[in-house]
């Protein structure tokens, strides 16, 4: 009793947690939830949920082929659970896909907008059709319970062979065309995994995985409900899987040899390590385990062997689905905890439905005793709170809902604020100004360094004027680098997020809260930031004050800072080349551009290069000279 209930509580906890995260994904989008990037557009949800999920559901078509087509009657106890797993697996795939698709409400578009050249189009159709077929194939089981549906059930039973046949045909296409998906990426997928016969490899591995998934599931559910394990059936499955895995291994070896990639296998890169471990886990170890009769009969070896195939083949799907593209795209990708949570949540939800169906319908030849509704069990009593939890049935329901609600709440509480509000703005930590003589500034992060005499600037601008560069600190940041406000090299940049302030999911502020009533709504007539956020005092930020919500462009900010002094020095020292671009920019600027950049002319996109008042600056610099002399004295 405890074993089932504890498992269910854990599953409910994960599901509740994932539900909270899922809500976040739909409100704030993929960027706020996932670690996907422009160079890694497919991540864990495709690699594990979709690719792995479909492969894990392969047990359905393999078992129906063995039972209905090959007439191996002894496998009868495994067929119904396998078909159920397949159906739930496909439902989980669709659910996972809904999270992953950018526009999930358009998922039905595949029905009306056709592109028969696309492998994904074929995959989509197979998912739809096969899910329908699986539903028809499985529905006689739940319908059995209700006598009023007997007619429908009999009708479905009549055509069961047709459904089975259709299911096998669709699965063949589907499993293999998941491999076809990656044929179009010969430049992205690592050569060890890319192959012209990917569809065939996918089909073979799906058959092996299907067999072992059925075995693993049988072992797991029998452990869960403390039933006698079906060791002899698993043994037979093991015997079969050795053949399938051997064919798969031979195909893989021939493929590697034919492509001349044997050197890549042994070149010691992390991909080669992944490849070798994948081969050993998914193929070689299971072959050894299941071809030794003694081990094949041992239940522990069965556990290990079946898990290895399941794990190894899902690992293969993840590798093909994106993991081994990382070194080629030059991107790094680690799934965010939210992605992992949703993946686990989808699996947990499917497992809960599986357990529910197993307990309430006639799946096994011997139905497990529903542990929560045994008549002789006493009502639950919680000793710590002295509360009756009702009948055992209601008590377990209470526990499950409590688990769900609790983890949902925790999930909501853990939602990172940065993800919600910042929506993926790159976080750059800038070290505190150290005031050393000269800094090399890589402000625009393009590795073009310019020399920046920091101390001189402090002397010239004044000790209290740090805010001119290290100006106002945005929420969530301790220090900003220049370009967090001056995000565009050439344009003034809006850092006031108007839409976020107005949206109900953001700050949820009414228009009139900032804009004065009766006056046209524009930034001039609006409240200043500091009226609502007293922390951000804009008065210290001189440049920003002029254009209320705009930070001037990066180029302008730095040109204003440097160029004024250069002009003064050029006059003082009579060195006119100080006013040229190359006196600061290490990377040579094209002469023609430099010509245009004589500070008197301004190109339209170098707009508002405001030359500071040189006279005033001169006074300042003289002042600072005096100060310097004072210090020196």
């Amino acid at each position: 009793m405890n074993r089932v209930q504890n498992t269910k509580i854990i599953l409910w906890l994960i599901t509740g947690f994932a539900a909270a995260v899922g809500l976040n994904r739909f409100i704030f989008g993929l960027g706020a939830t996932t670690n996907l990037t422009d160079s890694t557009p497919w991540g864990l949800w495709i690699g594990f949920d979709v690719m792995g999920g479909v492969a894990l559901a392969a047990g359905g078509f393999v078992m129906t082929a063995i039972f209905y087509i090959m007439k191996r009657e002894e496998f009868h106890p495994l067929v119904k659970p396998a078909v159920l797993t397949a159906f739930l697996g496909y439902m989980a795939v669709i659910l996972g896909l809904l999270f992953d698709l950018g526009l999930p409400w358009n998922i039905w578009h595949m029905i009306i907008f056709w592109n028969p050249h696309s492998p994904l189009f074929e995959v989509g159709w197979c998912v739809m059709l096969y899910s329908a077929v699986l539903l028809l194939e499985f529905s006689p089981v739940p319908l059995e319970k209700y006598s009023r549906y007997a007619k429908i059930r009999n009708f479905l039973m009549k055509f069961r062979f047709v459904f089975v046949l259709l299911g096998i045909m669709l699965s063949t296409l589907h499993q293999s065309s998941l491999g076809s998906l990656f044929l179009i990426m010969p430049f992205k997928l690592h050569p060890l995994w890319y192959s012209n016969i990917l569809p065939i490899q996918f089909f073979l591995s799906a058959v092996a995985l299907g067999l072992m998934m059925v075995a693993f599931e049988s072992l797991a559910s029998h452990w869960l409900y403390k039933r006698k394990p079906e060791t002899s059936l698993v043994e037979k499955l093991g015997k079969t899987v050795v053949w399938v895995l051997s064919i798969y291994l031979i195909v893989k070896i021939i493929d590697i040899l034919a492509a001349g990639e044997i050197t890549i296998v042994l070149n010691g890169s992390w991909e080669s390590f992944v490849f070798i471990s994948e081969i050993f886990i998914s193929i070689i170890f299971p072959i050894i385990i299941f071809s030794v009769p003694k081990m094949r009969r041992n239940i522990k070896a069965q556990w290990i062997g079946s898990f290895m195939v399941v794990f190894g083949m899902v690992f293969n799907r993840i590798n093909v689905g994106g993991l081994t593209m990382l070194s080629i795209t030059g991107d790094s990708y680690t799934p965010s905890w939210m992605e992992i949570t949703i993946s686990l949540g989808v699996v947990s939800a499917a497992a809960l439905v599986f357990l529910f169906v197993i307990e309430h319908f006639n799946i096994w030849d011997l139905k497990p005793q529903d542990p929560e509704s045994l008549p002789h069990t006493a009502p639950s009593f919680d000793y710590s709170s002295h509360a009756w939890l009702g009948t055992p049935d209601a008590a377990s329901l209470t526990k499950f809902s409590l688990a769900f609600v609790l983890s949902f709440a925790v999930g909501m509480a853990l939602m990172p604020e940065k993800k919600l509000h910042g929506k993926g703005i790159e976080e750059i930590t800038v070290s505190r100004a150290s005031g050393i003589e000269r800094l090399l500034i890589n402000g625009n992060k393009d590795d073009n360094l310019v020399e920046f005499p920091h101390k001189e600037h402090i002397a010239r601008l004044g000790e209290d004027q740090c805010a001119q560069c290290h100006h106002l600190t945005l929420p969530r940041f301790i220090e900003n680098s220049c370009w967090e406000c001056h995000t565009n090299m050439y344009k003034p940049v809006d850092y006031f997020k108007h839409n976020w302030h107005a949206s109900s999911s953001g700050a949820n502020i009414k228009c009139d809260n900032c804009h004065v009533e009766g006056v046209q709504r524009e930034s001039k007539s609006a409240k200043n930031c500091v009226d609502c956020h007293p922390k951000y005092d804009f008065n210290n930020a001189r440049f920003i004050g002029s254009q209320k919500y705009f930070a001037i462009s990066y180029t302008d900010a730095f040109h204003q800072l440097c160029v004024s002094c250069h002009f003064i020095k050029a006059d003082e020292l009579n060195k006119q080349n100080l006013t040229e671009c190359k006196s600061c920019h290490k990377v040579k600027i094209h002469d023609q551009v430099a010509e245009n950049l004589k500070w008197k002319t301004t190109l339209p996109h170098f707009n508002s290069v405001i030359l500071p008042n040189i006279e005033k600056e001169k006074n300042q610099s003289e002042m600072s000279k005096d100060e310097k002399e004072n210090i020196n004295n």
């Binding site: 293999s176 430049f187 370009w483």
Partner: protein, 256 residues
């Protein structure tokens, strides 16, 4: 009459006017550096960018508008289409957000609105509205140096080969985009190696749609074949079972 763009790297001065013009024409919003962006300057709000390479080289990156685009083959709902004018255009009404186009593109061009709750795929569409009416794209129109020009693809190829022939030693003897993966509608003339624009340095001349074609063509055969195989297998096994059953019955009769 497929149109194309020819960009001459040696002429580009990196003034970024094309980038500004693109932003204005396509109503792209201002860009903020995001964690999901690649460092090539392209983003959902930046459809063309200038990549600076050491030695005063400025390379304009944009969608290549392949003659046989992988993204068009990949899209399951046909939201991406190659038009007669040469542009690969995107229909946001059809898109379902699977991002298979982004996976399929060998140049890594399409970008995604990761920060939106209703996200779309974003990329250069060769100013399709303009070229449809006989105009030219904003980027080529504004270029002050004539570094990037618009015209008929065949004529541009001629111009490119002429330039190579007239200035021996100035260019690498290759027009980027002439033949790779079936050719592209955005061509490059260059004095440096441009293979960094794609994921692989040797793309080959085979169009990418041809890689999936055999698999897609064998779909009906695999479907019917598997069905036939299963039916045949079923028939044989049943027949065998019947035979052995009869045999057993015969034996039983004899024993009696």
């Amino acid at each position: 009459m497929s149109k194309a763009i020819l960009t001459d790297i040696t002429k580009c001065i990196g003034c970024l006017k094309c980038v500004s013009a693109c932003k204005e024409t396509n109503n792209l919003e201002m860009d903020v550096p995001r964690i999901w962006q690649k460092n090539d300057g392209l983003s959902a709000e930046n459809w063309t960018s200038i990549i600076q390479k050491p030695g005063n080289h400025f390379i304009r990156k944009q969608c290549r508008h392949c003659l046989e685009p992988a993204c068009v083959t990949a899209c399951p709902v046909g939201a991406l289409q190659k038009t007669n004018e040469g542009a690969v255009v995107y229909d946001s009404d059809k898109c379902l957000g699977c991002r298979y186009c982004m996976m399929a593109c060998p140049y890594g061009i399409p970008r995604y609105d990761w920060d939106q709750s209703v996200p779309y795929v974003r990329k250069c569409i060769l100013c399709f509205d303009k070229i449809k009416n006989g105009d030219q794209p904003a980027c080529t129109k504004i270029c002050p140096e004539g570094a990037t020009i618009f015209g008929d693809r065949n004529e541009l190829l001629k111009i490119a080969h002429n330039r190579i022939a007239e200035n021996p030693g100035k260019y690498i003897n290759k027009v980027w985009g002439e033949n790779e993966i079936g050719g592209t509608s955005v061509l490059y003339l260059s004095d440096i190696d441009l293979s960094f624009l794609s994921y692989n340095t040797h793309l080959g001349n085979k169009p990418l749609p041809e890689t999936t074609e055999p698999a897609m063509k064998s779909v009906p055969f695999a479907f019917v074949g598997m069905g036939g195989f299963m039916l045949g297998l079923n028939w044989i096994i049943r027949r065998r079972m019947e035979l052995s059953k009869n045999q057993n019955e015969d034996r039983g009769n004899k024993d009696e």
